[in-house]
C-alpha cells in the first residue's frame, strides 16, 4: 500500500471493518457496505484491495457485489433521488412519477445525468407505505407526492448549489 492510500481516511474505515471481523472471509458483505459508505460506490481498486485483504477470489467478490442491488459499481451523481416502487406506491402513481422524472431530467432509472447532477434510483420498497407514493431526495423522505411536486423538488434540489 502506498503512502497516499494509507493516509486515506476512508481506507481506514474499511480496514477497521475488516479488523472487527478478524479479516475473515465472512466479513465480505459488511466490508463492501463500509466501502460504499466511505467512497460512494465500489470501485475496482477497492474491490481488489478487499479481495486481497480478506483472501477472497476476485471473481467471487465481483459476484457478490453485483448480486446485491444495494451495492453500486458506478459513482453516483451529486444528488440522488430514490423512487420507491413498492406495491402501495406503485398503485398510487409511481409509473407517472417515474416517466415525469425521466422526461424532465433526461435520466433513466439506475442512471446518472450527463452533467452528473442527478442519479435516479428505484427501491423495491422503502417501508414508508403509509406515505405512498414516496421518494427519497438526498436522504430525505418525501411522501404523498405527485409528478408535479417531484419534478419541482428535484429541480430545486439540483439547482440549490449552483
Amino acid at each position: 500500500m502506498n503512502d497516499a492510500a494509507s493516509k486515506d481516511k476512508r481506507r481506514k474505515l474499511v480496514d477497521a471493518t475488516m479488523r472487527r471481523f478478524g479479516h475473515s472471509q465472512y466479513a465480505l458483505i459488511e466490508t463492501l457496505h463500509t466501502v460504499q459508505e466511505a467512497y460512494g460506490f465500489l470501485d475496482d481498486d477497492n474491490l481488489k484491495y478487499v479481495a486481497e485483504e480478506l483472501r477472497v477470489p476476485l471473481s467471487k467478490i465481483f459476484g457478490v457485489a453485483t448480486f446485491y442491488h444495494f451495492f453500486t459499481l458506478k459513482p453516483q451523481g451529486e444528488h440522488t433521488a430514490v423512487l420507491c416502487t413498492g406495491t402501495a406506491c406503485y398503485i398510487r402513481g409511481v409509473p407517472g412519477i417515474l416517466s415525469a422524472i425521466k422526461k424532465n431530467f433526461s435520466v433513466d432509472a439506475g442512471e446518472t445525468t450527463e452533467d452528473n447532477r442527478l442519479s435516479l434510483l428505484t427501491a423495491r420498497c422503502i417501508g414508508s407505505c403509509g406515505l405512498a407514493p414516496a421518494i427519497v431526495l438526498d436522504g430525505e423522505i418525501a411522501g404523498q407526492v405527485t409528478p408535479e411536486i417531484v419534478v419541482d423538488r428535484i429541480g430545486r434540489m439540483i439547482q440549490n448549489d449552483t
Partner: protein, 239 residues
C-alpha cells in the same frame, strides 16, 4: 466403508435398493443402473441443485425434490419417471433452450452437447415457449479457450471445477436472475485474467458449447468426459 455407517433400504422405481445413509438418491440410482437426467450435477464436484432436471417424486412429499441433494431415508419410495415429472423435465429443458441462443447447427459441440442429447432423452420435439433471443457476447480473448455466453446454461460446473478442483477460482457468476453471466476475475476479458491457470478443466466439464477450445469448428469440439473422474480418483488415492 466404516462400520459406523448405517445401511438404508429404499425403493426406486419399484426396485428395492440398499444404500449408505449418507448417499443421495441420485448416487444410489446410478449405482443401480437407474438413469436420472442431470445437467448441473457432475461427479467430483459439489452438488448444486440448480438445474432441476433430476427432480423425483417421493411418496408422502408434495414437493418434487432434487435427487442430487436429497439423501436417502429408510423406507423411502422414490419415483423417477412418472408422467408428471417427465412433463416437467420437458418444460424445463424447453425453458433452457428458450433462454439463450442455442443454434445447434452452427455450434462447435454439435453432436457432443449434453443439452442437445438431453432433448432427445426427455423427448422434446420443439420449444413451445417463446424464444427470448438475448444479445450476448462471445469472449474470445483467451489464447486457448472461448467463452460463448449464447450457449451457457448457468449450471456453474466450470465455476465449481475452477474453485474446487483447480483451486484458482478464476470463474464465478455475476448479477442475478435472467442476467446471470459467467465472469472471469473482476468481469474482465478472459485473456487478461491473471489468475487463470489455463488448465482447461472448465472447458471439459462444460455440458454445452459455452466453453470450447479455440479453433474448433462446427461439430469438432468433443469434451474429455473422463478428465474429472480421473483427477478425482487420483486425488483420492493420494490422500
Amino acid at each position: 466403508m466404516s462400520s459406523s455407517v448405517k445401511i438404508k433400504t429404499l425403493t426406486i422405481d419399484e426396485r428395492q435398493v440398499g444404500a449408505r445413509e449418507d448417499q443421495t438418491i441420485l448416487e444410489v440410482a446410478r449405482e443401480n443402473g437407474i438413469r436420472i437426467p442431470t445437467l448441473c450435477y457432475l461427479k467430483g464436484l459439489s452438488p448444486y441443485g440448480g438445474c432441476r432436471m433430476c427432480i423425483v417424486e417421493i411418496a408422502g412429499s408434495p414437493k418434487l425434490l432434487p435427487s442430487c441433494m436429497t439423501t436417502v431415508e429408510e423406507g423411502m419410495v422414490v419415483s423417477t419417471q412418472t408422467e408428471r415429472i417427465k412433463k416437467y423435465r420437458r418444460s424445463l429443458l424447453e425453458l433452457y433452450f428458450s433462454e439463450r441462443n442455442h443454434v445447434c447447427s452452427v455450434c462447435a459441440t454439435n453432436g457432443y452437447c449434453e443439452l442437445q442429447s438431453m432433448a432427445q432423452e426427455v423427448e422434446m420435439t420443439h420449444v413451445h415457449f417463446p424464444y427470448m433471443y438475448p444479445h450476448l457476447e462471445v469472449d474470445a480473448t483467451h489464447e486457448r479457450f472461448v467463452l460463448d455466453h449464447n450457449r451457457c446454461i448457468s449450471c456453474t460446473r466450470c465455476v465449481r471445477v475452477c474453485e474446487e478442483v483447480e483451486g484458482a477460482h478464476t470463474l464465478d457468476i455475476k448479477d442475478r436472475g435472467i442476467d446471470v453471466r459467467i465472469i472471469t476475475d473482476l468481469d474482465q476479458p478472459w485473456g487478461e485474467s491473471e489468475t487463470c491457470t489455463q488448465c482447461g478443466k472448465c472447458v471439459h466439464v462444460c455440458p454445452t458449447g459455452a466453453l470450447i477450445e479455440r479453433g474448433k469448428s462446427v461439430g469438432e469440439m468433443s469434451k474429455r468426459k473422463q478428465l474429472l473422474p480421473y483427477l478425482t480418483k487420483m486425488r483420492e488415492a493420494q490422500k
